[in-house]
Symmetry: C2
């Protein structure tokens, strides 16, 4: 019932625990024959090293934390997948924590990271986090942090982002090239930075094409339901010939509204979104989008973090990695 320890092995064979330890770790001081014997007994006793003891001794934990606002079906599953892939390959274990978009819980989670001796932290800031001051605690004890997806301007940490402004600009420009003249914008929670940045890109693209950005119908909605309701309301007053959706989530709110108003996509109205490329294929018509690969974000961020942990990245300066985004042309434009 109780798990075997190194001591059990040592007693059984009649050597010291240090010898057993060295044998199991293939230390050159130990003869091959003894190594063999030790390993056999270990197997027989179903011995597994107690990682709590090992980690305490080595003062490592082999753990990497991923803190995200919330696990929904949007975006983060792909990120987790990408992170897990890299983290697992490098021999770490992943711990997933959620901040529920609350600063308080984010701080709690960071404390957990500290307490559990995380070797590194991947963090997508909560909606309430307007700066990174609460990360100083980790910085002081030397736990590397990589921010991704959501960050703040004056960050002093490595980060993996996309250029939200640019991507939105690009999407809107694309709609204009396709002949759209009256473009509406749909955005998520107005408190999070990426909503704001994408909104700016939206406005700038309009302005650069001689369209009065302030007259463009605009919605900020924090949930699918809100978005659908707001879209329906919008359609009472305006008849846009195109929609820019900052995420596939808001696009999913828009579709039913258009349908209810008997507006056909893409004939009556074009739709474009930014998406990780899953949901767009479930929608009808399939949703043209700029492909913001969560998988890629996860991979790159995790790799960067692990490089930091291993000390491969020596420069003290932090880097901001901007991922490039491609457009996937489907049925909605």
């Amino acid at each position: 019932m109780k798990r075997a320890t190194i001591k059990d092995i040592s007693l059984q064979i009649g050597v010291s625990t240090s010898t057993v330890s060295r044998a199991l770790n293939d230390h050159p001081d130990i003869s091959d024959s003894l190594k063999e014997q030790v390993k056999q007994v270990a197997k027989a006793l179903n011995y597994h090293p107690n990682l709590m003891a090992v980690n305490l001794r080595r003062s490592r934990s082999n753990l990497i934390a991923l803190i995200i606002p919330e696990i929904t079906m949007f975006f983060f599953p792909s990120v987790i997948k990408g992170v897990e892939e890299v983290v697992h390959r490098e021999g770490f274990q992943l711990l997933v924590l959620q901040s529920q978009d609350s600063l308080e819980r984010e701080i709690q989670n960071l404390r957990v990271c500290h307490d559990h001796s995380m070797e590194g932290v991947l963090l997508s800031l909560s909606a309430e986090s307007s700066d990174v001051n609460h990360l100083s605690e980790l910085k002081e004890v030397g736990i590397p942090v990589v921010l991704f997806d959501k960050s703040v301007v004056q960050s002093t940490f490595d980060q993996v982002l996309i250029n939200d402004f640019e991507v939105a600009y690009q999407a809107v420009t694309y709609l204009i090239e396709k002949g759209a003249k009256n473009i509406a914008g749909l955005f998520g929670n107005r408190n999070i930075s990426i909503s704001q940045e994408r909104h700016k890109g939206f406005q700038q693209a309009l302005a650069d094409n001689g369209i009065d950005a302030y007259k463009a119908p605009t919605i900020f909605a924090s949930s699918l339901q809100q978005c659908q309701a707001a879209s329906s309301a919008l359609l009472q007053r305006h008849k846009p010939d195109a929609f820019f959706c900052m995420s596939d989530e808001v696009a999913a709110g828009l579709y039913p509204a258009l349908n209810a108003a008997n507006i056909r996509i893409p004939n009556d109205c074009k739709v474009i979104a930014i998406s990780d490329g899953n949901l767009p294929y479930f929608m009808q018509p399939t949703l043209t989008h700029l492909h913001h690969s969560g998988l890629e974000v996860g991979r790159v961020a995790a790799q960067r973090l692990i490089d930091r942990i291993k000390g491969i990245v020596k420069e003290p300066e932090v880097t901001t990695k901007i991922l490039s985004i491609g457009i996937v042309e489907l049925g909605s434009v």
Copy 2:
């Protein structure tokens, strides 16, 4: 830079480490004034107990593992959410592992659970796991396991499931009540148990209503693309007046196929699915479904596990908790 230990505090105040430890844990042997002082110094030094040491000493880890086949946008995000909710409330941390539907990786993950001294494991079996023999290792060392969603018949573990047969039966019966006479069935990976059970329920419901189940058009598809292709092919040969979809994922494959064939939902063809209730609202028309709440599954399974860990559940017998399922009537029937 280095984190403060209990020793640092003891040196600073001039008491022993044991006293500091007791003071921090509000042991009655320590005077209130000293406690106050110790806590102040602890705060000043930004002291956090080293959980690796604490856990080694207490031989606990405070960790609960969740092993799932794969984090996709389907179902599991809700489960994770439910699990996290309970686990966090009870003061544990959650570790998410993926088996990629591979038995080998599932075994690897179980080893990780053992090595990291998990206090409990929540497991949704991989497609390749046809029994639970590989769980014996955990059983031997006394780590409780709760299976959920996917299990096997002769399981000797607590489990939280739905009655897949019954739910499918119920869904098909509903279609028949609504007038459907020619019902097709869409299923996922044919190797996983829930596909098989739901398929049986599908067939039985047909048979009980005097329909030849073996002539009913049936598809097993492991991905969205496969499902869409197979659906299109099916529509060349048959004109079902209703579809039973074992998951929202396959339903998402069906929709475009119906659309391409110019078949209208629900007028020309009804569709019903089993779903956790997210995706159905993004589809057009919204998808009528039997609501298999991932949130609930996660909560119940996690609570059961924690009861086991805490020893609240004393009975040696394992229990199988079957969650009830309600129907959500939306636009597709």
